[in-house]
Symmetry: C2
Subunit: 337 residues, 2 copies
DNA sequence: GACGTTCATCGAACCGGTTCGACTTTCGAG
DNA sequence: CTCGAAAGTCGAACCGGTTCGATGAACGTC
């Protein structure tokens, strides 16, 4: 059941059927009705490949995700789901492509085979080879996170430096003097992962401004590492009374370490950071934190990408989101150790 | 840069370029080399839409996921990532489509627009309307989980009944006499979610066989519900000494409730069930559990789907996986309450 | 030396849509 | 009544690949 069949049964030409469906040229009401009847009867749907070939666009967006070996965090996950929904709202589909490791073939296929009209790139590094590949391919793309030279590209990011800075200020207001930043993994930081770098910068700078002593440590993205990391912190700097973190995955371990050390939250120790709201709420006690607005970021990323696709000449736009800190109950005024 | 341009620069016809690339007819070594040189120089990649149109297949698989509003569990997440990787290994891409709620348009687009060669359907119900839609559309598909009338369809599933049964036997061996099943949400059970139904059946049947008293309760998929659920259990059946669960998302709440009640695991209470291995290991103490092999299921689902696509006349195949129970440290012999 | 194969290549048709130009017909304005 | 514009429709070309049938050359066989 293709457009020719519909045309034959409705007694019109193929082009008339096409115009009746797209509305790009006037078609008489009677003809439209006849065509619609035939379509309803035969259950016709235009072939997406043929349409893509003719129109020169696929109505599909590519979403490049970290490979499965890298454990996806809760925020990333809800981001993926939200991208799919935002795209669906604009009648677009989403093609997934893992990247990194040995998955470059997939990335290549998606990028160079004109399979998608544009790409959303997650988890980008400060110097990211994929960004260069995309730039030279001419395919529209939006990154989640931004590269060093960011003015000329399209991106959506969370203002990690600003948010962490606010967290530090919050702790300063509560009287804390010795604080620590629990960052993400060594490798990620070493590879130039933007959020980690910016969090560190915002953390140290703000703490210094308030005359606090501040330490920052890296921690792998899993509970076991969180536990070890926190015990290490206690051993090296027993005077620390509060921690700021951007490492969601390590949280359960940190919680266990706090418990083992006999530290109540927030009575004996305060904890805050940039955390997905669902995770912050599931913590015990609920975490005072800057909630990463994954859904909003996804929506924005899709909007920016579609705008860029529609108008390739548009000047690049970005969005740096700084969600407010939600006061829950994991931070309190400093107590003597 | 299309195939015609390549042909022109190599001084051959378009069909020769096509045959040189596909190898479906012999082409002289000299010509192949000349064509490859031109292709390398111009960075040519065939247009995926044109190829899909001509070949009648898209080399793309559809993956129907639960909508973003339904919080995806850890298993589901790693399943998605694994499907993408398994498909990539066969040079296929994955198109995501949410379903349920108001996302039927997306599902429709994917299914009826010939955008994909086949579909993998996650989280299916015992009576699932999407299965009927797919069946009548003639598109190959594989379901994760199986419907009542399952002999005639392709699916991969975890043997929940068998696994839960093993968990119960394990508890019986340890001397427990009063146990409870923490199932998934009311709504899910009410809507006929297979795993939940089969878990219940396997649980009650096996417990009865061992002469145990067994209760089963539903619990929403979040920590707060887990906490409330467990406190309810303690209030109603204080004699219960062990729980079996298939509800991963509720676990943190259950843990908190155990802690509040002053119950050590496994000293005061035993806990086991069907849980993703990563979650089981992150628990404190690590959970004795049947690890859901998400990666293996994804691999199998993709293999089955590709087989069905290649050979539509093949008789349906299924796989019911029963991973072994991994003994960790959350179960112990019964103590007097 | 005639003949059937295999090799290598070409041109044309096809996949199923969209879109452009051209051709009637209808209609309202001058 | 005439003329131009708009409505309504058609045929043909095009998007960029794949594939079929045909053709000519090289080759081994009887």
């Amino acid at each position: 059941m293709n457009i020719g069949e519909i045309a034959k049964r409705a007694g019109v030409s193929r082009s008339t059927v096409s115009y009746a469906l797209s509305g790009k040229r006037p078609v008489s009401a009677a003809t439209v009705r006849r065509i619609n009847d035939v379509i309803a009867e035969l259950g016709y749907r235009p072939n997406a490949s043929a349409r893509a070939l003719a129109e020169g666009r696929t109505r599909t967006l590519g979403l490049v995700i970290p490979p499965a070996s890298t454990r996806l965090t809760d925020v990333q996950l809800s981001f993926v789901a939200s991208v799919v929904e935002a795209a669906a709202a604009h009648d677009h589909d989403v093609l997934l492509s893992p990247s990194g490791g040995d998955h470059d073939r997939s990335f290549d296929r998606v990028v160079t085979g004109r399979r998608v009209d544009g790409v959303i790139l997650m988890e980008i590094l400060l110097h990211d080879p994929r960004v260069e590949r995309l730039t030279s391919s001419g395919l529209p793309f939006v990154t989640i996170g931004h590269v060093v030279d960011s003015a000329a590209s399209w991106w959506v990011d969370v203002d990690y430096a600003g948010l962490i800075s606010r967290c530090v200020r919050h702790l300063a207001d509560l009287g804390h003097e010795h604080i620590v930043l629990i960052n993400r993994s060594d490798e990620l930081v070493a590879s130039g992962y933007g959020p980690a770098m910016r969090a560190t910068a915002g953390f140290l700078e703000t703490a210094e401004g308030f005359g606090m002593t501040a330490h920052d440590v890296c921690c792998a993205d899993d509970p076991a590492a969180g536990l070890a990391c926190f015990e290490d912190i206690r051993a090296r700097w027993p005077e620390v009374t509060a921690a700021v973190t951007i490492n969601e995955a390590a949280l359960p371990g940190v919680q266990r370490a706090l418990h083992r050390a006999g530290l109540a939250v927030p009575g004996g120790f305060s904890l805050t950071g940039v955390i997905a709201d669902r995770l912050a709420e599931d913590f015990h006690p609920p975490l005072t934190a800057a909630d990463v607005p994954a859904g909003q970021m996804a929506q924005l990323a899709v909007d920016l990408l579609l705008e860029q696709i529609t108008n390739p000449e548009a000047t690049p736009r970005h969005a740096l989101l700084a969600p407010p800190i939600t006061l829950r109950s994991s931070t309190g005024s400093r107590r003597r150790a």
